[in-house]
Symmetry: C2
Subunit: 507 residues, 2 copies
């Protein structure tokens, strides 16, 4: 096809199409899992449970904070009973909009309802790819996956993709902060593994960005994820994290991880009510620590396979749980995170379908932050390099829909329709020629060759092609050029802290 | 996990869960591609084009019908200029709700806005599976794929899955009608390949169902798909099909197949405006043939890859085209069909992601009938047995969301939450025990084994597992037991008609 070949030559020379995937607004209508009345009942039940049944808080400092805020505390059982007025005050003071600084102004994000932020899979003990197979995550994997995260604009925050298990726990936070600042300029992550590691992470980040203590505390520069221990427990590092991040003005993303039928009631309504209860307690702890501290509501509620007890993701129940959590988030008005994911063991059709299904649940639930949106296999035990790439294709297609107003427009092409007679075609019309390089999404992994050509080229499937894509990206030098002085200062800090014995995690 | 094993034993013995996938209402909020004003402009532009630019109608009988209805006809160019009042009268008389009879009352469907009907991939010249590879479609494939379509309640109509190329064209309609009536009780399909084949197909169907001519004409028993020839042409078999089906009270699903940048303008707005124009002409032909004739609005608009000219599906542009068509369908109030699909060459992650992405476009567009929702590869050149199975998993998960009101409920499980102390679990609570066999979707293809078990079992991917699933279904005898007399009468009819030379298609 003549115009087709012209198009290819031109676009090979100078790809003219550039759609902004960085600042996404969620354009999808929001779907309800339950009536507004039911949602109000769930919220009321959560408030009642916190007041009457209480929540177990393992950290004495946190119980003390709750007591000072007016909650009843039973030290013998470590149970905290939080009056609804305390929770409601916390919901009133929690900010509805949270700016978070990346390493460059065009990487800053704002967490608020209506915005849409994607993260790849986080926290996996293993990494896998088609070359080296599945193995415990390493420092090399952490860096490579962080670089891949940097490469794609549709990923907006850096999560702890895999655990670099070849680095001892008391030194791991140095390595991960070093990699995040050296290889990305997106919003970085800090694990809540006790005050010593958190404080050192803040110091490294503030130092690198040239921020005084006051400046660092005045605006959010990083985030952590807080998982409660369902049912109804906040453990020591999580409580400490909520306090430390709140004091420092840094973002806690509160995420009870509740599996229906296991650590939560088997119904979506029940599991989400429990999740909401725990989230409210955690949010309250941030606000009684520092009024107005940045905190993001969240849920990660899915079901277990009742035949094996295994957690599963991207199921209808997971989808409905996201919808219900979204309704509760809108009720309290806070930005919130949800999650996609897959239980599949390889980057196959099951993996693709589960992750995309879970992602649509998040999108139609109005999630602000969608975590595990790319690369996550085995219910989080592995991040796959290939799945990262193939899921990013889906996220980019979603981002195209977010940006459609800019790229598509409502141009009817009536002149073109008038010009082309019955039996003709539109390949060569001025209307087409003016747009053919920029009108359509250009795929990352999809192969549009016909069967004959595809066969001649070796019948590669999308997963195989994905290997070539991540290899090509990693073969290039990192595009991030950190300031030499800042980097030197960071290395000095790490060398001294390492020499001083590092900082063990608190559990 | 103790309860898990119990659950498995119990559910192996007597699967208690049964969700009705047969009569689906679309629960998804509908999304707009354009403002209501833009949609009104597109509709006005379509009316204006039909009146002023006209449409080419190759069938003299159809031009004659248009002329009698008041349209201007130029016989030398075969162009028909349809005044807007003629189109508007047709839109007023087209029924908004179309009951269509299956072979059993619990397979009847109603085509109207709000209902949701799925069809697998249709019209492919090739079939493929992992055992026999890709080959021209055969009579065996047609029957096998029809049986698989029968097996899954989430598929509601029988399409012409593959062309049985080993049966001559002048006899093919006997074979396909025989297979549909022998192997399924779902709504059957008739190709519009000229009056002789259509009339014989009606006779076979009416005879088999024991319906007099009057009874057959009084209610819809089958359907056809009418593709216009974009831009702005209705060819002879298509026009004849519209007339024949309208006269007989059978359903035409009107589907301009417009590829943006090829046979339609490159913009979504332009392509959908052209598609709408053509659809309005076809709908009008049905209504001037028989007022109130059952006709379904439709579109199948996607883009081409501007590098190769190849049609692509499940893209952001395809998604947006579905949304726009849905807005136009709601404007005119008619039930409508959209389509999913994939351009991938094998049942890989690309194939899964494209089909699911396209399906969500249809769902959020409020499509009544979603065609090519399972099994369709290579932009329709192949129906894959394995992709049929893996896509059905997605459709079943969607159907679970449609049925969530029945299965999930708003049960908060507050007693269970109160009973389970911090650190406990919900596996054994009465709330869980009462529901564990019925609360969650049971997957068709998904494997929830952990990595170790999955590896021991041979690391099968979803596509490989799908092979076993379709083989198991086809290894069972067909559950359909057609009436012996009706079947005998049909065979007699076919034998006589075959002896008489069959019926050649008209083109």
């Amino acid at each position: 096809m003549r115009k087709g070949r012209k198009a290819r030559q031109a676009s090979d020379a100078a790809p003219a199409r550039k759609v902004d995937y960085r600042n996404l607004k969620n354009p999808f209508p929001q779907m309800k899992a339950f009536s507004d009345d039911h949602i109000a009942t769930m919220h009321e039940a959560a408030l009642d449970m916190l007041e009457r049944l209480g929540i177990k808080v393992l950290l004495p400092e946190a119980r003390d904070a709750f007591r000072k805020a007016g909650a009843k505390v039973d030290e013998s059982t470590e149970m905290v009973f939080i009056g609804r007025e305390i929770v409601q005050a916390a919901l009133a003071s929690a900010p509805k909009s949270i700016p978070v600084a990346g390493g460059a102004r065009d990487r800053d994000i704002v967490l608020e309802l209506g915005n849409l932020v994607f993260q790849p899979g986080a926290g996996a003990p293993h990494a896998s790819d088609r070359i080296k197979g599945r193995r415990p995550g390493t420092w090399e994997d952490y860096q490579d996956l962080t670089r891949l995260t940097q490469h794609f604009d549709v990923l907006h925050m850096v999560p702890p993709l895999v655990e670099p298990q070849d680095i001892p726990m008391h030194l791991r936070h140095y390595a991960t902060m070093d990699a995040q600042l050296r290889l990305t300029d997106k919003v970085p992550f800090v694990f809540s593994r006790g005050t010593p590691q958190v404080e050192q992470s803040f110091e490294m980040l503030a130092g690198f960005r040239g921020l005084s203590d006051d400046a660092f505390h005045a605006g959010s520069q990083c985030y952590t994820i807080i998982n409660t221990n369902s049912p109804r427990t906040i453990d020591i590092p999580m409580a400490q994290g909520l306090i430390d991040f709140a004091k420092a003005g840094q973002v806690s993303i509160v995420t009870p991880f509740t599996l229906m039928g296991a650590m939560a009631p088997i119904t979506v309504a029940g599991a989400i009510t429990l999740s909401h209860t725990e989230a409210l307690a955690a949010i309250t702890l941030t606000q009684i620590t520092r009024e107005g501290a940045p905190v993001c509501y969240g849920t990660f509620t899915s079901n277990v396979d009742m035949k094996s007890g295994a957690p599963v993701f991207g199921t209808p129940e997971h989808f409905r749980a996201s919808l219900a959590a979204g309704q509760l988030a809108r009720l309290i008005g806070l930005p919130w995170r949800s999650a996609s994911g897959s239980a599949a063991n390889s980057n196959d059709v099951q993996a693709a379908n589960e992750t995309q299904f879970g992602t649509w649940g998040c999108l139609m639930a109005g999630a602000t932050v969608v975590i595990h949106a790319a690369g996550w296999l085995e219910g989080g035990l592995t991040v796959s390099y290939e799945k990262l790439i193939t899921d990013i294709e889906v996220l980019q297609m979603v981002a195209e829909l977010c940006a459609a107003g800019e790229t598509g427009g409502a141009d009817l092409g009536l002149d073109a329709i008038e010009d082309v007679q019955p039996g003709g075609h539109f390949f060569g019309t001025p209307h087409t020629m003016a747009r053919y390089q920029t009108e359509f999404y250009e795929p990352l992994v999809a192969d549009y060759a016909n069967f004959g050509t595809w066969t001649e080229r070796g019948e590669t499937d999308a997963t195989t092609r994905a290997t070539g894509i991540w290899q090509d990206i990693l073969a290039q030098p990192s595009p991030i050029k950190p300031d030499d002085n800042a980097m030197g200062q960071l290395q000095d800090y790490i060398a001294k802290a390492t020499a001083a014995g590092g900082a063990a995690p608190v559990s």
